[in-house]
């Protein structure tokens, strides 16, 4: 037998027991910290992505603008970086982007807004239950499929109406792009309209207004900031859309405001260059980053406008 008394033995056991628990708690603390840090790193990836985009675009564009003046980039009316007689004017690509986006928005904004008002204020529950997932699926169709549809279905159809329409044109690409954007415009607008408090509608009905009057004169103005955000989202989608245009609008830069002509957009040009085999670091390679920077600034511009609109017209209920 050892000489330890009963009490001593209990002490030794409990001390061992307590320190073990303390050690486990300490370990648990370390584990918690490590996990929290790992989760923080995962969340920071989004910031790193943004920084990466800015750095890469600025860095390559910087090399580009050392050889091509900003003035030439903004005012030259030809974009022929791959030819011997190289010109670096972004205007033809910008005009293509703007014309196709305008056509798309002329389709998407009226239709998208009408659908949003209809679904939010008029449609019976059953119609909404079917229509919303359907619209969501419409937005989920790959854009290359829309491109195929524009080139091989819509263009031949339009050519029956306008026999002189070329095989590649901004019109059919823009129309199909508009259909593609409808779900984005309608779902965001509808969310904004449904967020308008019921009391506003009830007040309007109590004054004897009809559904249509309530929708147009009460709900739509009250949801304006959200609807504006939906339009801005639609514009960003249209400006950044790539495959429909690369397939159906052609890849020839063309300074035109006529949607019946073929023309390349900023995005289509990037695709065209990426399909070829350009040496890394050449001036032609850098052009796609300069074009990308222009595109990024364009979408940033619209996003800032959207942000300001939302701030200015935000209604608090």
């Amino acid at each position: 037998m050892t000489s330890l008394s009963h009490a001593d033995r209990i002490d030794a056991v409990s001390e061992h027991f307590v320190s073990d628990r303390l050690a486990r708690r300490k370990l648990r603390h370390v584990k918690e910290r490590v996990i929290e840090f790992a989760l923080f790193v995962a969340a920071s990836i989004s910031v790193a992505t943004t920084i990466g985009i800015v750095v890469i675009l600025l860095q390559e564009s910087f090399h580009f603008f050392q050889q091509v003046s900003l003035w030439e980039f903004l005012t030259d009316t030809q974009w022929t970086p791959l030819f011997d007689d190289a010109h670096y004017g972004i205007l033809p690509l910008l005009s293509g982007t703007m014309v196709s986006s305008t056509v798309a928005l002329l389709v998407a904004i009226p239709l998208g807004t009408t659908i949003a008002i209809y679904l939010s204020e008029f449609a019976p529950f059953s119609v909404r239950e079917v229509a919303k997932p359907f619209l969501e699926m419409l937005g989920g169709v790959p854009t290359i499929v829309y491109g195929y549809f524009a080139l091989l279905f819509v263009t031949p159809l339009l050519q029956r109406l306008f026999p002189e329409l070329p095989g590649f044109n901004l019109l059919s690409a823009g129309l199909v792009m508009g259909i593609m954007i409808i779900p984005y415009v309608s779902s965001v607008s509808e969310d904004a309209m449904r967020a308008v408090p019921m009391a506003l509608r009830e007040g309007s009905y109590a004054m004897g207004a009809t559904r249509f009057q309530t929708a147009i004169r009460v709900v739509t103005p009250a949801a304006f900031s959200g609807i504006a955000a939906a339009y801005i989202l639609g514009i960003s989608r249209a400006v950044g859309e790539t495959m429909i245009l690369a397939v159906a609008a052609g890849m020839q830069p063309n300074l035109t405001w006529n949607p019946m002509e073929p023309a390349a957009t900023i995005t289509a040009y990037i695709v065209q260059v990426a399909l070829g085999d350009l040496p890394h670091g050449s001036l032609a390679y850098q052009t796609i980053f300069a074009a990308g920077l222009t595109l990024a600034l364009l979408t940033l511009f619209f996003n800032v406008i959207g942000h300001l609109l939302r701030k200015r017209f935000r209604q608090a209920y």
Partner: protein, 307 residues
């Protein structure tokens, strides 16, 4: 009140109500434009492409002869790229969502991350392609590989996964957390034992929608320089000489379904357009069934959970 006034008011009401009916019809017609376009798209592709859909189409490489060409390298490439995308986007997206909802302190760093996620969702996909070209292909030297494409698409769908995760977590009542904390659970115990299991269905919905988007994305994958004509398969995963050879496939050149379809669409011969239609049909059925699955899970979730 005079009789004529009442009649006038009634006429006014009738004419106003007529606007209600008219708008109801206009609204339905606008919806129909969407429905009809989709129907035309689907039927047109089915008519052109259904003839090409056979087992051979799935087991043949692309070819200069349209009748023998198939999508073997494309669907294998798409599958492998999606594996990389899921492996990167799911842990990062769910982790970021959990951090923002459960851990993040209210400070400028959190605000910055939140604004960032919102803005990234609006960045055109081709810009991600340029980022990947500069960073992954040349900066990190990953080349025009499956790994590069998978990581690019993962960054692209990260906002979708993050937003879905946050929404799913936010719908869990605070009482659940409070109960667990009251029993002495740590933050991670609460998260891993309660928050994650309860938000699983919502997260899954977001992941599926994100993957459906990634599988149809063409522009960023073309921008990193994916080839349009590939007549071989990457080494099958886990077959090379261990240990390094097991992951040979990840650095292999590749093509994906939408690029194969783009390639066939941009050729002048009508026979290739049939191939494009068939590939498009496969692509649409794939993305639509993924979206439908996500919608179904969300619907089930909405009916089942009663806190």
């Amino acid at each position: 009140m005079k009789q004529t006034d009442i009649l006038e008011i009634r006429a006014l009401i009738v004419s106003h109500k007529r606007w209600d009916v008219a708008f109801g019809i206009v609204g339905l017609l606008s919806l129909m434009v969407g429905v009809l376009t989709f129907a035309a798209l689907f039927v047109d592709m089915a008519l052109d492409g259904a003839g090409r859909l056979s087992l051979d189409f799935f087991t043949s490489f692309p070819s200069r002869k349209p009748g023998q060409a198939g999508i073997l390298s494309a669907w294998v490439g798409s599958t492998l790229v999606m594996i990389v995308t899921a492996a990167a986007a799911v842990p990062l997206g769910v982790g970021a969502g959990v951090y923002l909802e459960e851990y993040a302190p209210r400070n400028w760093m959190t605000d910055l991350i939140e604004i960032n996620v919102t803005n990234l969702a609006g960045v055109p996909s081709i810009i991600y392609g340029l980022l990947a070209l500069g960073l992954f292909v040349y900066g990190l030297g990953l080349g025009q590989s499956i790994l590069t494409a998978g990581l690019t698409l993962a960054l692209l769908i990260l906002p979708v996964v993050i937003v879905a995760t946050r929404e799913a977590i936010r719908s869990i009542p605070a009482a659940i957390r409070e109960g667990a904390y009251a029993l002495g659970a740590t933050k991670w115990q609460v998260t891993s034992n309660h928050i994650l299991p309860y938000s699983l269905a919502g997260i899954l919905t977001g992941v599926i929608i994100g993957m459906a988007r990634a599988i149809g994305e063409t522009a960023p994958v073309i921008t990193i320089g994916a080839l349009t004509f590939i007549a071989f398969l990457p080494a099958a995963p886990l077959t090379g000489d261990p240990p390094a050879g097991l992951f040979d496939w990840i650095l292999s050149p590749f093509t994906v379904m939408p690029i194969q379809m783009f390639n066939w669409t941009s050729r002048p011969e009508a026979a290739f357009h049939q191939n494009a239609a068939a590939a498009g049909l496969v692509l649409v059925v794939m993305t639509l069934s993924m979206n439908a699955l996500a919608i179904y899970i969300r619907y089930r979730l909405r009916r089942k959970i009663k806190w």
